[in-house]
């Protein structure tokens, strides 16, 4: 009944292209929405569990209904988390920001310069250099971690900030994105005009190229940020000093220790929650940059 009313209304609003608003489409819409709702539950439920569990004390964590709140222990969990082991959780957050944040900024700058050079300068072996870098995209970071450790231990660089930071600022995929984007978005005439005006090559890059490439830069930054933040093997092999850990490695260590120290379960839960909140917000609000960058990347493949 309601369906046929909708169909008539649809027919009346003819200029909308969905004109043949047949009952079939409406039923399809309900089914599609219902299916997506079920999927949304699948994707959100673990996050919901994390949120709920971070408010519970160590005892109610095991005994109460997992998907609903019980006695509120949020404040004591928070103070416990930030004071445990001399407030080392703070260190981990700062370290993560250094590795992933600063690392991704540096990686973006290096990759944009390299991509720009590969797109806009003719030189011998250009294609070869690009092919080698492209091959680097297919060599995953984890395959490099072990040999890097063996290498850096020869020069006593393991167990330092640099051992995690320096390998993280190399982003072949960023170079690829930068080259694709610079080749299509920066007109050669603009560079020529800059040269005629007497600007140095560096100034042209800084004032003209970087400005035009800025949407691609955000995408490159995001990709590298996630790559560093997700690279677990590299800090795991490089670092033994817990004060140098990124937050992922720190939580992993606690997660392996709660057999001996039961209160750590609560800290792992709330520590996980705190560490992902800023990231999830940043991600969701920057979603359109993912899409634009991914289109640029896949169109060329």
């Amino acid at each position: 009944m309601a369906v046929s009313t909708a169909a008539r209304l649809g027919a009346k609003a003819a200029p909308r292209v969905r004109a043949p608003g047949s009952p079939k489409v409406t039923r399809g819409a309900i089914l599609a929405t219902a299916f997506m709702f079920v999927c949304a539950v699948y994707f959100l439920l673990p996050a919901w569990w994390l949120l709920v569990s971070s408010t519970k004390g160590p005892s109610t964590l095991y005994s109460s209904e997992g998907f609903w709140f019980s006695q509120l222990h949020l404040a004591s969990n928070l103070t416990g988390l930030f004071s445990y082991d001399g407030g080392i959780y703070w260190r981990w957050l700062v370290n993560t920001l250094l590795y992933a944040g600063v690392g991704a900024v540096c990686a973006t700058m290096l990759a944009s310069a390299a991509g720009y050079a590969l797109a806009k300068y003719e030189f011998r072996g250009r294609q070869f250099v690009f092919s080698v870098i492209l091959g680097g995209v297919l060599v995953p970071g984890t395959a490099l971690a072990l040999p890097l450790y063996l290498l850096l231990s020869k020069v006593s660089l393991t167990n330092t900030y640099w051992s995690v930071f320096l390998p993280s600022v190399v982003s072949p995929f960023g170079v690829y994105l930068a080259r694709v984007y610079a080749a299509s978005a920066i007109p050669d005439e603009l560079i020529e005009a800059g040269r005629i005006d007497g600007a140095s090559e560096f100034k042209i890059f800084r004032t003209v190229a970087l400005r035009i490439m800025s949407p691609a830069l955000v995408t490159m930054f995001l990709f590298q940020f996630v790559a560093i933040w997700n690279n677990f093997l590299l800090p795991l092999v490089m670092l033994s000093n817990t004060r140098l850990y990124p937050v992922t490695l720190g939580l992993y260590t606690w997660n392996n220790q709660y057999g001996q120290a039961p209160q750590l379960v609560s800290y792992v839960v709330i520590g996980s929650l705190i560490s992902v909140i800023p990231l999830v917000i940043a991600f969701l609000s920057l979603q359109r940059f993912w899409r634009s960058g991914l289109t640029a990347g896949s169109v060329r493949l």
Partner: protein, 290 residues
């Protein structure tokens, strides 16, 4: 030169370690006498001995078999799932698009280690509301961490993490298609299903290839999720995946030369598989005129 700084670091932290791993993989530590004292071990040239060992090592073979099985099942399931969600989001019929897009993408904001820790709680009997709910629904005590089930529990974590990301890549491809292209088909009376399979899917083939290549690389490198789950699942051995084997050999068994050989074989294998897949798709695509 603009290429310089990147080039130097790329050489130092990409090319050099690869070269060094290859170099190391040709040596092995020889223990003389009783193996006591610092001078009793010497590093000697071993030729291809480490490589023949890799290929005959049962734990390496089992690990490779495991990640291949994992990939053959998990990658198609995840990509099909992602494609369906992208098509639904793109179809005119769907409601609440913004909410759904955010919900599906959210897990990607959670790093692999933390996602694995989170799911390990949801698999753990006594703590997990999922196990409790299934028990309450009459399924008995479901063991997510058993010898046969744990691989698929890992697959579930990976699917949960990356479906939304892959969906976004495919969705981006769909959004780039000019709408009038299928408006015409729709006016001709083509159903949504026909529009999706005959017009939309062929046009996002490039995006699908991209997601498949990334997934193949990720699967062969599987490390963080099984490593984290080891704390709750006894059946994940220290050589569960090739990457775990290399890690164990280097740090537990103190055999970096052998670990280097494993890493080299794994890197070459990854390269061949992802590159081969690209080639296969490109040839196939050229024939179909995509």
């Amino acid at each position: 030169m603009f290429l310089g700084p990147f080039g130097v670091l790329f050489a130092l932290f990409f090319l050099l370690p690869i070269g060094y791993a290859i170099y190391e993989s040709f040596f092995k530590v020889h223990v003389s006498g009783l193996g006591l004292g610092p001078s009793s071990t010497t590093t000697v040239f071993a030729g291809l001995a480490n490589y023949t060992h890799v290929f005959s090592d049962p734990s390496f073979r089992q690990g490779v078999g495991r990640v291949l099985l994992f990939g053959v099942v998990q990658i198609p399931v995840m990509l099909l799932f992602a494609t369906i969600l992208a098509l639904l989001l793109d179809s005119v019929a769907a409601r609440f698009k913004r909410f759904f897009r955010l919900a599906f993408f959210l897990p990607y904001g959670i790093p692999g280690v933390i996602a694995a820790i989170l799911w390990s709680f949801l698999y753990l009997p006594g703590l997990s509301p999922v196990v409790a709910a299934l028990h309450g629904a009459g399924f008995g005590t479901v063991n997510f961490l058993g010898v046969n089930s744990v691989l698929w529990s890992i697959a579930n974590i990976v699917t949960w993490e990356y479906t939304g990301y892959n969906m976004l890549i495919i969705y981006a491809g769909l959004q780039a298609i000019p709408a009038d292209l299928y408006e015409a088909a729709r006016l001709d009376g083509a159903s949504e299903w026909r529009v999706a399979t005959r017009i939309k899917l062929p046009l996002v083939a490039g995006s699908l290839v991209l997601t498949a290549v990334f997934s193949i690389i990720g699967t062969l490198q599987l490390f963080a999720e099984p490593q984290v789950l080891r704390s709750v699942a006894d059946d994940i051995s220290s050589s569960y995946t090739p990457n775990l084997l290399a890690y164990t050999e280097a740090f537990t068994n103190n055999n970096p030369n052998y670990a280097a050989a494993v890493a080299v074989v794994l890197a070459i294998g990854t390269f061949i598989l992802s590159f081969g897949f690209l080639r296969l798709v490109q040839r196939h695509g050229a024939r179909m005129g995509v």
